[in-house]
């Protein structure tokens, strides 16, 4: 970075810091969801995700092995074992034998049990229960421990959401439904808009200026107005709620922006190219397919990204025109809203589902960002 007159080094550092702060602030919420989607439900519920990287101190209620595991050593009855599964590195900082005082003893100390016998718990979770009489009952006595549990990450949530989950948890079907909505709802408006934009940019016919103005006006019409009239219309022509209806709706709502962006771009293509082709005897259809379409690739790409993001992320249009009572055609956004309602506390499912649904648009976004920005600029600064 070059230091120009009027800028002090201290100011530059302040500037760098504020950018780091701003980016951190903007990234933090999404990061939380990503991290949470890899944690177990216990971990999500007991500590903030920002502490996921560090061991967390948790109060756990565990049990020793049942009395059936006891062995006789001389005149002592002994149960020995570990409170944690083999291979974990949890560390106990305090333990107790009653819920009233769960942190009564330090690790390594022996304590009298109420039912008789003594219990010793070591820091690594190994315990030894001794009694002079035979230990009875079905289950081992409870042990309350305050333990530092190492961080744990799992892919189980993704498995549940994508493969093994039940009807409400599993997103696979909704994922394909969303794709089925999105792909045609991206391609069809581009095709339709490209032809229209070419006509508006390069063909002479009466009423052209008026049409352009009308399209600019339609850019801002809220799609809420369209819900009832079009639902009625779809029912009347017999397509009801379904994919064809939702494609048509997305096409209609996406068209003004598409035509506007593409026309602005096509007007900028040099006139010579088109006129030379005309002189050579090419029809408008050939000019369009062979010359204009390839040349317009950047504009087409930028609109494609917009329309893709918009249809993928849409909730309202799908709810009104697609999803019927059977729920067979539900899309991901709708399924997540339902999860929010019914499983508001199950963060592991909720976070993973949300992340599955935003992964595709994020990938598209980072891969095609250049075109997205170009499209935004073409559409906004005129």
């Amino acid at each position: 970075m070059t230091v120009i007159a009027g800028e002090k080094p201290a100011l530059i550092w302040a500037l760098r810091l504020s950018v780091v702060l701003l980016v951190g602030l903007w990234l933090f919420p999404t990061l939380g969801l990503l991290v949470s989607s890899f944690r177990t439900s216990d971990q999500i519920a007991t500590s903030g995700w920002w502490r996921a990287m560090f061991p967390s101190e948790q109060n756990l209620t565990l049990r020793t092995d049942p009395p059936s595991a006891q062995v006789q050593e001389g005149d002592l009855y002994v149960i020995e074992g570990r409170l944690f599964a083999e291979g974990t590195s949890s560390e106990i900082s305090a333990w107790g034998t009653s819920a009233r005082d769960p942190a009564a003893y330090e690790p390594g100390i022996s304590a009298e049990l109420r039912r008789g016998g003594t219990l010793m718990v070591a820091a690594d979770g190994a315990y030894r229960l001794e009694s002079t009489e035979e230990i009875s009952g079905k289950r081992g006595p409870r042990v309350f421990v305050t333990a530092t549990v190492p961080p744990e990450f799992t892919l189980e949530n993704y498995e549940t959401v994508l493969v093994s989950g039940n009807a409400t948890d599993n997103m696979a079907k909704a994922f394909f439904n969303t794709l089925t909505v999105t792909i045609p709802a991206t391609i069809i408006p581009i095709l339709v808009a490209a032809f229209a934009a070419y006509a508006l940019a390069w063909m002479e016919f009466p009423g052209r200026a008026l049409l352009v103005a009308a399209i600019v006006g339609l850019l801002v019409v809220p799609l809420q107005l369209a819900l009832i009239p079009l639902l009625k219309f779809h029912n009347e022509i017999g397509i009801g709620k379904g994919y064809i209806g939702v494609w048509m709706a997305h096409t209609g709502f996406g068209l003004p922006l598409a035509i506007y962006l593409l026309r602005n771009y096509m007007v900028g293509i040099p006139r010579d190219i088109i006129e030379n082709a005309r002189v050579d005897g090419a029809t408008d259809f050939m000019i369009f397919v062979r010359i204009i379409l390839p040349l317009s690739f950047p504009a087409l790409a930028s609109f494609a990204i917009f329309q893709f993001l918009w249809t993928w992320n849409d909730l309202l249009v799908a709810m009104v025109f697609l999803i019927d009572a059977t729920g067979e055609t539900t899309v991901m956004t709708k399924q997540i809203v339902e999860l929010l309602g019914t499983r508001g506390g199950n963060w592991e499912i909720l976070a993973t589902s949300a992340f599955v649904s935003i992964a595709v648009p994020l990938a598209v976004f980072f891969a095609m960002q250049k075109y997205l920005v170009r499209g935004l600029l073409a559409g906004s600064i005129k």
């Binding site: 009027g6 919420p29 809420q224």
Partner: protein
């Protein structure tokens, strides 16, 4: 049938139909109706070229007319009628509007919408301008921009989940998993707050989600505008001894005022249409209702098409000035 195969078939059918229309309609025009051969070749080509623009435009005009223009008229009509039992509808004048105006929920929605319209475009534009100016001359500015821009790709529903986690509250005494409550308690707040249920302020917590999404958009456009400012004006100001803040507010901002207005209006339109955030996070409970959600409630929950259409017309009325202004600008440009 596997959903993937079913999807592929439906996609092939939909896209194929569209490609087919353009290809065959032009083929028919050139080969059958006005063939470019025979005795009237010149006349035929001329006629074909008169018809072709409409062939190109036809699907677009049909879709625009049907999906955007006709609904405006139809919704207006629906808003002054009421369904009668047994089918059909009758004209009721302004009764729907009267009924809507008498509802407390409507006024709450209108009030909240005005708050949204004041706060979201202003905050997004301000943050966007700040981000654009700060990142503009940093070596890693583009990476920073990408990250701030990223929420644009996230659905409103996804964003709602993300922010629900931020606002989450656990019972008092246990570890907080929502970062806002964790901070609040860390800095001495007394007990976790259910942020989304505090009337009036909860609207701001919902707005935060939209601001978070829209800031990137504002930043990208304003940053391009900032780059378009001629170097000379800035240099002249430096020579005259202006500080960085003076340069920013007195030299740069006035020069990109047009762009700021464009960004502001674009976000305003988004705010008026936004529905998903409120729907997913509070569904209008705890006095967070907004017009778009109120309308959805009326249309599909209460099944009251009259009042629903009336509230849709209110949204239309609010965008109307922007519509007129856009068309006016477009017409000026065409000349």
């Amino acid at each position: 049938m596997h959903p993937a195969i079913q999807g592929l078939l439906t996609i092939a059918f939909g896209v194929g139909g569209c490609v087919g229309y353009f290809y065959f309609s032009n083929l028919v025009l050139d080969r059958v109706i006005f063939p470019a051969r025979g005795a009237h070749i010149a006349r035929n080509i001329r006629r074909a070229n008169m018809i072709r623009p409409w062939l190109f435009l036809f699907p677009a005009l049909l879709a625009l007319g049907l999906y955007l223009a006709y609904p405006v008229v139809e919704t207006l009509r629906l808003s002054v009628t009421e369904r009668v039992p047994g089918g059909g509808s009758e004209f009721v004048g302004l009764a729907n509007y009267q009924q809507m105006l008498a509802e407390a929920k409507f006024w709450e929605a209108l009030q909240n919408n005005f708050l949204w319209l004041l706060v979201v475009p202003a905050a997004s534009t301000a943050f966007g301008l700040l981000a654009a100016q700060l990142t503009d001359r940093l070596a890693w500015g583009n990476i920073a921009k990408s990250l701030i821009f990223m929420p644009m790709a996230i659905s409103f529903v996804g964003a709602a989940v993300i922010w629900k986690l931020v606002y989450d509250a656990r019972p008092e005494g246990t570890d907080q998993i929502g970062v806002l409550n964790a901070l609040y308690i860390y800095f001495g707040g007394d007990g976790p707050m259910q942020w989304l249920t505090i009337p009036f302020w909860n609207s701001f917590f919902l707005m935060m989600v939209l601001i978070w999404i829209q800031t990137g958009f504002a930043m990208v456009i304003l940053s391009a505008a900032l780059r378009g400012i001629p170097e000379e004006t800035v240099e002249a100001a430096i020579v005259d001894g202006a500080g960085p803040f003076q340069i920013f507010f007195k030299i740069k901002v006035p020069q990109i005022m047009d762009t700021i207005v464009v960004v502001w209006t674009t976000i305003t339109i988004v705010v008026l249409k936004v529905f998903d955030i409120v729907f997913a996070m509070t569904n209008g409970q705890w006095e967070t209702q907004v017009l778009a959600n109120y309308m959805y409630d009326k249309l599909f929950r209460a099944n009251d098409w009259g009042v629903g259409s009336a509230s849709a017309m209110v949204i239309m009325l609010l965008v109307l000035p922007i519509l007129v202004w856009n068309v006016y600008n477009a017409r000026r440009e065409m000349r």
